[in-house]
Amino acid sequence: MIPAAFDYVAPTSLEDALAALAQAGDDAKVMAGGQSLLPILRMRLGAPETVVDLGRIEALRGVRDGGDHLAIGAMTPYSDVVADPLVAEHAGLLARAVETVADPQIRHRGTIGGALVHADPAGDVGAPVLALDATLVVVGPGGERTVPAAEFFRNLFETAVGDGELLTEIRVPKHTGWGSAYEKFVRVSHQWSIVGVAAAVRVDGGSIAEAKVGLTNMGSTPMRATAVEQALVGKDDSGLADACAAAAEGTSPPSDLNGDADYRRHLATVLTRRAVRSAMQ
């Protein structure tokens, strides 16, 4: 399968990329790692006139210590996020989720920014980013703005990043000393989540002082299990099952060949319990 013909631009700076996008107009498509975009182009589900490849913009790559947060460049590949010592220390939940994405080859190419803008509801990167209360930096012709993760995901495959705009950075508040786990339920290897649960907890004296729980594929966007987060406060291991029972509250999971909505609701409660228990250890 070969994509339809397109013009190709590979700018080396953010300014040049924005200019290329503005010049190419409506029929331009941004390419990050290409791990979702190229399959789409090859199946001819999309046929942009121009592809603007961000792969040569070094400034968009890497993890920086921003004081109270980590600043992760949108073009940082998954495998670099997983291996990064700052991420391990301050945002472990992100590494736990990203290491479950696809397979090693795809993790060498796919980027954290590409995954977030792609916004597949079954993708594993949105839930941890949402749970960790990250802020996303979006740059366009009108300058730079920051968008809280809670306002970033709009719908299936739709985010706050508009035409002609680029996601440049993901700012993740430091969660130093938090325990974390990502529980992903799949039928076969290297596949998308049927349901995924991202949990981070701060444990104090054997019980939970603070909890953050994000859900993958329980609706058209990643979601927070707010009721569970509140119910977990003050609980120790013996209180987990009750607190996690409300994991599917307020969700609207899809029904498909992998499972119907009720099955997914059931999975969400089981996986939340497992994720929180493992995050506490």
Binding site: G34, L38, D53, G55, Q105, R109, H190
Partner: protein
């Protein structure tokens, strides 16, 4: 057309390609590296795995223009002076192939795996090979071959030469 210069198995090539050309097609049809094969054509099977700057990628899911200025290693670049790479030899000795179609990708991924993790457990080998599908062997001997190389070499970066 876009002019690209890519190092393939240590030799620089400069060619004019259409931007939509997939790296795997460039390698097979322009450079002649037919050892790298297309299996699924949907980025699932891993048969087309090569190394791009030393890291494994599925070459059916990379554009040739993305490799401009970079280094590609294919299965044809592993053996030195006719002597098999230890991973190739281990696949041979452990009967880790039947039809052989998945083998180029399996070997390239196995080499990458040991570069990142020189002493994997069996579980880590299975996880590390999860992007490569084999329709013949049942994986058992593939895992054995990778374990054999991991066990027989010592020190850092045993997967790479």
């Amino acid at each position: 057309m876009t002019r690209i210069t890519v190092s393939v198995d240590g030799v620089p090539y400069t060619d004019e390609v259409e931007p939509r050309t997939l790296l795997v097609h460039y390698l097979r049809e322009v450079v002649g590296k037919v050892g790298t094969v297309v299996g699924c054509d949907t980025s699932n099977c891993g048969a087309c795995t090569v190394h791009l700057d030393g890291r494994s990628v599925k070459s059916c899911n990379v554009l040739a223009v993305q490799a401009d200025g970079h280094e590609v290693t294919t299965i044809e670049g592993l053996a030195v002076d006719g002597e098999l790479h230890p991973m190739q030899a281990a696949f041979h000795e452990n009967h880790a192939l039947q039809c052989g179609y998945c083998t180029p990708g399996m070997i390239m991924q196995a080499v990458d795996l040991l570069t990142e993790n020189p002493h994997p457990t069996e579980d880590e080998i299975r996880q590390g090979m999860e992007g490569n599908l084999c329709r013949c062997t049942g994986y058992h001997n593939i895992v054995k071959a990778v374990a054999a190389v991991a066990g027989s070499t010592s020190g850092e970066g045993s997967g790479a030469r």
